[in-house]
């Protein structure tokens, strides 16, 4: 019995030690990154004093001799990210919502096949999807050049097409969950009261699934802004997005300016997701 009590005490200690370690593991890297973006010296081995100068350097394009950084290029990449993200999100939201509606309300054979078609883009390794799109665009553009004599180059259109492809599934999953919660009798009621399908959709179904559509769109936008691997393989000259631009910096060396940029990006993405969650939190109970 005392052995059992000893084991239990050991278990209790473990159950508290593990979270302490885990939270340290999860947060230490982020805190260190932020801390050293304010460090006086360029070293990340010890903290010597507090300064804002690295943030100033970013604004004034002073990134050290070896770096090809420019604030203008970074802002440009950020604009590209927003542009790609908005268009890809709009298309993916429409396509994802359409297939979700169709699968929830339609009665036709082969739905399990559609399930698989929506499921695979989520589980397939990113790099596989990335190179398959890269090869596909190359094959199509080569063929087009052969037929018409004009050459198409990868650019925004290829990135957007790629982002829509991986986003459709996520939108569809979120909207389907919302549709599953919805009472189908509401549509029947509208139907019985003489509304045509078009009216029923816009007056009854759409307002009810709107929170799901918004969540799906926000998820798609976040994934689009965050994506590196697939964009890296489908982007062309001059269409660098923010993650692809940042990757170029991160890969080279550890510098305080890169730490400062990372800190700014972390704050921005946390703010963005926090705000979008707050909007969803308000949208959900209202419906």
């Amino acid at each position: 019995m005392s052995r059992n009590r000893f084991l239990r005490r050991l278990g209790m200690v473990g159950l508290w030690l593990n979270p302490v370690f885990s939270y340290f593991f999860l947060w230490a890297p982020i805190l260190v990154l932020v801390l050293f973006s304010f460090n006086q010296s360029r070293s990340v081995a010890s903290f010597t004093g507090f300064t804002f100068k690295w943030y100033g350097n970013i604004l004034n394009n002073m990134m050290g001799a070896e770096s090809a950084f420019s604030t203008e290029l970074m802002l440009n990449a950020f604009r590209n990210s927003l542009f790609v993200g908005s268009i890809a999100t709009a298309i993916a939201t429409v396509l994802g919502t359409m297939i979700a509606l169709s699968m929830a309300r339609g009665t036709y054979p082969g739905k399990r096949l559609l399930d698989a078609l929506l499921f695979f883009p989520v589980v397939i390794p990113e790099i596989t999807q990335a190179i398959s799109l890269a090869i596909f665009f190359k094959v199509v553009f080569d063929w087009f050049a052969l037929m018409s004599g004009e050459r198409i180059f990868p650019g925004f259109h290829t990135i957007i097409a790629a982002h829509v492809t991986f986003n459709i599934s996520y939108v569809a999953i979120v909207v389907r969950a919302r549709l599953a919660d919805m009472n189908p009798q509401l549509e029947e009621a509208a139907n019985d009261l003489g509304a045509n399908p078009w009216q029923t959709f816009w007056r009854v179904t759409f307002p009810l699934i709107l929170p799901g559509v918004i969540s799906g769109a926000l998820l798609a936008f976040t994934l689009s802004l965050d994506d590196f691997v697939i964009t890296f393989f489908t982007s062309g000259v001059g269409t660098t997005t923010l993650p692809v631009f940042v990757y170029g910096l991160l890969k080279l060396t550890v510098t305080p300016e890169v730490n400062a940029i990372s800190t700014i990006m972390m704050v921005l993405s946390t703010l963005f997701i926090g705000i979008s969650l707050a909007i969803q939190g308000r949208a959900v109970p209202r419906a």
Binding site: S46, P125, T165
Partner: protein, 285 residues
Amino acid sequence: MTSWLARKRESGLLLAIPTIAWLLILFVLPLVIVLIVSFMSRGRGGVAIMPFTIEHYQRTFGIFSIILWRSIGLAALTTVVCLVIGYPLAFFISTRRNRLFQQVTLFLVILPFWTNFLIRTYAWRILLGDEGTINGFLTSLGLIEEPMKMLNTQFAVVVGLVYGFLPFMVLPIYASVERFNFRYVDAAQDLGANDLRTFLRVVLPLTLPGVLAGCALVFIPSVGAFVTPDLLGGTKGLMIGNLINNQFGGSGNMPLGSALSIVMMALVMLSLVVYLLANRRDRGS
């Protein structure tokens, strides 16, 4: 049960057709092309040319099998470490009685993941480097004289992967433990089972669906990882994802890259099948 779409059988399908077409052209067709290219020969500049060959698969399972096995090994190790850290953590979070405290502890696991994956990985370059924070700290304490080699090793890759995918393990287990009825524990103990037996015979089997889902969610992205080994692994931590990437540069080999991708995809499908089978067996018993 006539809802507005179901009245016309075809109209339901009609609504799905644009999306189906999009996915067939931009998801299925590209994969089919990759499959075909993987059996073609390498032409000048790494492009695919005729005739058909299985040479790239021979190389994948030949000289590149070491990298294939390394990827599987590192992903498996990552999964085990995530499980060892994640299970008790998920248990801790879901057994907090104070609702607010529980939500805060859960939020603290999710919050770091709002940061871009690249930046989270980069943070480990700061920590693990030869002149990094950990080496600096240990040197200043006088514990080591020479910096420890941590960055650009397989150790760094596993640390980065665990860091990247830990929530994928914690969240499904958390959901499982949340549903677990703790009266079963009382019942087992009343019947004379000790703590260990109670855990192994009652708690673990009933939370197994979460564990299995967590393992699949960690293993699958780990085995195909590209960014983590690229930023933290150097040449020693090279994984199959990097090898694929290298086939698309200047001195690349597109058919070889395609063959490697197909093998990796097969690996992912295989682990999914294992997951589904394990899950079904677990539900059945």
